[in-house]
């Protein structure tokens, strides 16, 4: 559905501040797929996210939706609406005085919708969220907790029924409880066959969520594929290991030292079960 072809992005070309943020990036996301793009700060993630959202103009290379360039003169604007975008800090995309107004903003711009229809659609979107936002309708977006703000940003994007969603660092700066709520919400979207792209500086929580992942390093793709298969295979690039969650890294090191362990786990609970199994096996011998 979304295709990026030979995308190169250079900031401030020809000035002393020239930075090559992306170099020859090509990948494809099919409908209903969840793609993770993992890279540390400065790897080009946010630049890539802005290209996917149509916020930057691709001078070298192109971004296509269903084969058509999103900067095509005809219908480019409509096409860009098919991809919803959730920014790194959701406060940047919130501006209305109440949660209801925030979510309904897009719908209120359309002339042929009655206020009743708008309300129904807003309630419908909010009901489907976990946790639901229904009880917070009259609150100011700026009174919400960090986790609730992200839910609100998701709701205000979902209301216009995009086919694909791009998340830029969906859980940066959140505590682990909020983080697992957001991951759970993304899982639900994935089950409902939304096309998803998640950009993150850490692969924590993404191993089981994403169908495929791409590792970005200094603006280039250094590895891509199915993360579980990828972890199960022997040699892993150092630049990639550094981006894996600490517990996964520990399992990889154990495997390198000859312990037969499954490294494609990342939460304390799944890792503890795997270690329990190994220690019990050891006890029996």
């Amino acid at each position: 559905m979304i295709e990026v072809k030979h995308l190169t992005h250079i900031y401030n070309p020809g000035t002393p501040w020239e930075i090559k943020a992306l170099e020859q990036i090509s990948f494809r996301v099919v409908r209903g797929e969840c793609l993770g793009i993992i890279g540390e700060s400065g790897s080009g993630k946010s630049t890539l996210a802005q290209h996917l959202a149509g916020l930057l103009f691709p001078r070298l290379g192109s971004v296509l939706i269903d084969g058509a360039n999103i900067y095509n003169a005809h219908g480019g604007r409509e096409m860009r609406k098919r991809v919803g975008f959730i920014f790194q800090s959701p406060a940047d995309q919130l501006f209305e005085e109440s949660v209801f107004k925030e979510i309904s903003f897009g719908l209120r711009q359309e002339k042929n919708l009655s206020s009743r229809e708008i309300e129904e659609r807003v309630r419908d979107v909010c009901r489907k969220l976990h946790p639901p936002l229904e009880d917070l309708m009259d609150r100011s977006p700026f009174e919400l907790s960090a986790g609730e703000r992200i839910m609100l940003a998701i709701a205000s994007v979902l209301i216009s029924k995009p086919e694909a969603l791009v998340f830029d660092e969906p859980y940066a700066g959140l505590d682990p409880n909020n983080r697992s709520e957001i991951l759970h919400q993304i899982e639900i979207l994935h089950r409902n066959k939304k096309t998803l792209i998640i950009l993150s500086n850490q692969s924590e929580g993404l191993i089981h969520l994403c169908d495929r992942v791409i590792f970005l390093y200094q603006g280039k793709i250094v590895a891509k594929g199915r993360l579980q298969e990828f972890l199960a295979s022997g040699e892993i690039d150092r630049r990639v290991t550094d981006l894996l969650p600490p517990l996964t890294r520990m399992l990889i090191h154990l495997r390198e030292k000859g312990i037969e362990v499954n490294p494609s786990l990342d939460t304390p609970s799944s890792v503890s079960l795997e270690i329990h199994r190994l220690l019990q096996k050891k006890g029996k011998n």
Binding site: E40, G42, Q88, P246, L247, M250, L254, S272, I275
Partner: protein
């Protein structure tokens, strides 16, 4: 209320001291009751304290009080034996905030770095030398001439950190400064702190919500509703796992893993705090 005299006899001339500090906001929205109440703290040269608290425990208020950005409603704050007057934390106390937007003042990295040094009268050559050294420490030396708005959040925060460290403060106050850093730079920042704490005897007071960040300190104080309720040393974290979880703190992955393994009947030694220590322990447990 615990008095936090951390190391024993400390010279008052090389110490940061809070004596029965109380604070309440006077503006309409937050005004009223004390958010900090009778707070005592002594931090001497070369000490490293983490003050762990959840949101709204009073961490940012305390950090700003110590830097002199807020003035105590009661009690007093002394730096090297001198009471600080409003707006006068001085260059001996450095403060790093959680959001670089609140900290950075200038359009260009170099200007941001030089401003504080010029204010305290450091010579031109020395300014250049120190800027190179501290930007290098944070991996930002190639961005010297860059406008700050060309940089990512993590890079901006690294400039903000470098601009405070370049003044070589005797006391460094950190308010939740790692949340915008990516995992690699977060780790690097924590080791820079430990290095400076040892080599330059810089005292560190780290306000944080993260048990993991706190575990780098020599002492951990738990702050609840403006008061210190408990004191720990990092090695105790493993035995306090359940009580910290009950209080709503999220444990570092290693501590959580140890807790789960113990519940499954595999005792984990107390001293295991880092992922490397856990790896070594598991390796030997699985081999012999």
């Amino acid at each position: 209320m615990l008095t936090s005299r951390l190391f024993h006899p400390v010279d008052i001339k090389t110490m940061l001291e809070l004596r029965k500090v109380g604070f309440r906001y006077t503006d309409k929205k937050r005004g009223g009751s004390f958010v900090i109440n009778g707070f005592d703290l002594m931090v001497g040269e070369g000490e490293y304290v983490a003050i762990l608290g959840r949101n709204a425990a009073g961490k940012t208020t305390l950090a700003k009080l110590i830097k002199g950005l807020l003035h105590p409603s009661s009690g007093e704050i002394l730096v090297d034996g001198q009471t600080i007057s409003p707006g006068e934390g001085g260059s001996h106390v450095g403060l790093i905030l959680s959001n670089p937007d609140e900290q950075l003042l200038f359009p260009i990295v170099e200007e941001e770095m030089a401003f504080g040094l010029e204010c305290i009268g450091v010579g031109r050559e020395m300014i250049r030398k120190r800027i190179t050294e501290y930007l290098g420490l944070l991996g930002m030396e190639q961005f010297l001439s860059f406008p700050l708005h060309f940089l990512s959040k993590c890079q901006q925060q690294r400039v903000a950190i470098a601009a405070v460290l370049v003044l070589e403060p005797n006391y460094l106050i950190i308010d939740e400064a790692t949340s915008v850093l990516d995992p690699r730079w977060k780790g690097r920042f924590m080791s820079i702190l430990s290095e400076l704490n040892v080599t330059r005897k810089m005292a560190v007071i780290h306000f944080t919500t993260s048990v993991e960040d706190a575990s780098y300190a020599h002492h951990i104080l738990i702050l609840e509703s403006g008061e210190v309720t408990t004191k720990y040393i990092p090695a105790e974290i493993s035995s306090l796992r359940s009580s910290l979880t009950e209080k709503g703190y999220c444990l570092p992955p290693v501590a959580e893993l140890s807790l789960l393994l113990e519940q499954m009947g595999h005792p984990i030694p107390q001293g295991i705090l880092t992922i490397e220590e856990m790896e070594m322990f598991l390796l030997s447990a699985m081999r012999d």
